[in-house]
């Protein structure tokens, strides 16, 4: 693979891994809002 291929792949992987890590860190630390618990069935 040429340097252009490596560069492009490294860039794409970095962006995706960074985005994934940041999003999941934020999701895990997101304050729980609303009425959680999942037991509110309709019937």
């Amino acid at each position: 693979m040429t340097w252009k291929g490596w560069l492009f792949m490294a860039f794409a992987w970095s962006v995706i891994i960074a985005l994934f890590s940041w999003c999941f860190y934020k999701v895990l630390t997101l304050p729980v809002r609303g009425n959680r618990g999942g037991s509110q069935t309709q019937d």
């Binding site: 492009f8 995706i16 999941f24 895990l28």
Partner: protein, 569 residues
């Protein structure tokens, strides 16, 4: 019976139990067979790194805005007790027709589930047989004698014995598999799959779907990491000239100019030091091939946009349904982005590093190009990959986790495809959850018989429900949410309880660019596919008739549900 909440007009409904569970369930919906099989083949065939440019443009300007729109529509509908798009559209657009247009968000996932559950059963059956060491074991020497077709033949026959030559006539072809499949085993595995789906659906959103996602998604990623690690450390297993890095290069090396067949537009593949058309090598001579610049090629853009649709499960009705189980002030911006990023990690980083690189390591790059062009998605996953694992130490175990990975990917997607109909039965018709799950399970089991016994039905359903309807329905969603409901109200709705603010530029991108982009995709789609639609086999017409009847039944059910609701009011 339903109770009223204090703040909202809708009945009290189920909710997700945790943020991470919701995101994993949404990611489970999005991550499917397409991430590990369809993506690497598409990327490699349409310019490698150059394909990734329209792919990422489509992701950024179409995928993410649509993802936020679908999440916001779903949470908005859920506030009024609607978990399926007919009710959501009814709330967003005060027009008598609105609820009927929403039928597309019920039709697409229901039809997809009919054939998807069957494919899901293949993955489970293959996983079981791999772990038991019951996949074909031809002498690996044949693979290196130059005749790859001969080496792949037992795997091809094995697959043909289950799925038939066109993935449609499984149970009529048992003898083709050399007696390796028994019909009752196929039925039993399919029943187990359907039973698992019904069980998860009957347990509900938090105790069923969310729990499944919390178990299946980490395992899926773990299996994928194990396989990627194994493939990238293969070294030079056959010849110093072949390595997995060549496969990585094939997926990622930007090829701005592609040699295309001037007859059918397919990318030409290597053949005896030259090139040939992978579709019709005899009828389409290579002397007529042309160089095409990837970034101005409509087909490449169409493929990239189509892959984004397919991989993020957009326009299929499942995302709004899942989002309807959010609280009215719970974030959708971060969660939607987290779902998209998890899907991209599974697809671009992991999916692109398993199938093609392992094929390149054993078969070499030229043969891998031919395989990518001729075997297709199912052939790569169910024929080529098991054959490759056979040549590695602990091959049965690796094949087992490969198919288990595919099974988890399919399972988490199939419950998502069934949930819009579940929500419709529960929210609009007032059915109990368990009743709805059992009725749906029976319906899917019986309908899938069409896919099993009649060749061509699967492909036809996939075209209309898996390719065509999502693009149309996404257009409708954008139009209703951004143009009728109003882009400022939509912007406000998306930002209600948001963990961060979306750059304002996305307001205009969503309203103008994404709508325009989708319209262009749709026009190209029609142009490419319209020819040949009328000249179809009787079974294809039967599939179309079935889908038309299903659409009418769903429209009737919507009419009935809303008439009953109106009478009660």
């Amino acid at each position: 019976m339903a109770q009223q909440t204090g703040r909202n007009a809708g009945p009290r409904r189920e909710r997700w139990a945790s943020n991470i569970g919701l995101v994993l369930a949404m990611a489970g919906n999005a991550v499917g067979l397409g991430n590990f099989l369809r993506f690497p083949v598409r990327a490699a065939r349409f310019g490698g790194g150059a394909f990734m440019i329209p792919y990422f443009v489509s992701f950024l300007l179409m995928g993410i805005p649509l993802m936020w729109v679908e999440w916001a529509i779903g949470r908005f509908g859920g506030r009024f007790g609607h978990g399926s798009t007919p009710g959501m559209f009814h709330r967003m657009w005060k027009h008598p027709l609105a609820k009927y247009i929403g039928v597309l968000g019920l039709f697409a996932p229901t039809v997809i589930m009919i054939y998807y559950s069957y494919i899901e059963s293949w993955t489970l059956a293959y996983a079981l047989r791999a772990f038991l060491g019951r996949l074909p074991h031809p002498p690996t020497a044949e693979a290196f004698g130059g005749n790859i077709e001969e080496y792949l033949k037992p795997f091809s026959d094995f697959f043909g014995g289950y799925a038939g030559p066109s993935a449609g006539d499984a149970f009529t072809n048992f003898s083709r598999g050399g007696g390796t499949w028994r019909w009752w085993l196929c039925i039993a595995v399919f029943l187990v799959c359907m039973g698992l789906n019904v069980w998860v659906l009957a347990r509900g959103v938090a105790r069923g779907i969310e729990l499944l996602a919390k178990v299946a998604m980490p395992l899926l990623f773990l299996f994928a990491f194990v396989l990627v690690a194994r493939v990238l450390t293969l070294g030079h297993p056959v010849s110093p000239a072949h390595s997995p890095l060549q496969g990585i290069a094939y997926v990622w090396e930007p090829q701005f100019y592609l040699d295309k067949c001037s007859y059918c537009g397919n990318t030409l593949v290597p053949k005896d030091g030259g090139l040939e058309c992978p579709k019709e090598p005899e009828k389409h001579p290579v002397t007529d091939h042309q160089k095409t610049f990837v970034l101005t090629d409509g087909t490449t853009w169409l493929e990239a946009a189509g892959q984004i649709f397919f991989t993020l499960s957009l326009g299929m009705g499942a995302i709004p349904t899942y989002a309807s189980y959010l609280g009215p002030d719970e974030d959708v911006v971060l969660s939607g982005l987290a779902t998209s990023s998890a899907n991209e990690l599974a697809e671009v980083v992991l999916g692109g590093s398993i199938a093609i690189p392992s094929a390149a390591a054993f078969f070499g790059l030229n043969l891998t190009k031919r395989i990518a062009a001729t075997y297709g998605t199912f052939g790569l996953g169910f024929i080529v990959l098991p054959a490759l694992f056979r040549m590695m130490p602990f091959g049965d175990f690796l094949a087992g986790i490969w198919f288990l990975l595919l099974f988890f990917a399919a399972f988490t997607s199939s419950v998502a495809m069934a949930q819009p109909a579940m929500a419709f039965f529960q929210d609009e018709l007032g059915w109990k959850r368990e009743t709805a799950a059992v009725v749906l399970g029976l319906f899917f089991f019986l309908s899938t018989q069409l896919v099993i016994f009649f060749s061509g039905v699967l492909d036809e359903m996939d075209f209309w429900a898996g390719s065509f309807t999502p693009v149309v329905f996404s257009m409708v969603e954008l139009f209703v949410f951004l143009w009728i409901f109003g882009s400022d109200r939509a912007w406000e709705e998306i930002h209600r309880g948001a963990a961060f603010e979306v750059p304002r530029i996305f307001h205009d991108i969503g309203k103008y660019f994404t709508t325009f982009f989708l319209a262009v995709v749709l026009i190209f789609w029609f142009k490419e596919r319209i020819t040949g639609l009328l000249t179809a086999s009787p079974t294809v017409w039967m599939a179309r008739a079935f889908m038309a009847v299903l659409l009418l039944v769903l429209l009737g059910a919507i009419h009935y549900a809303f008439e009953v609701r109106r009478a009660k009011v």
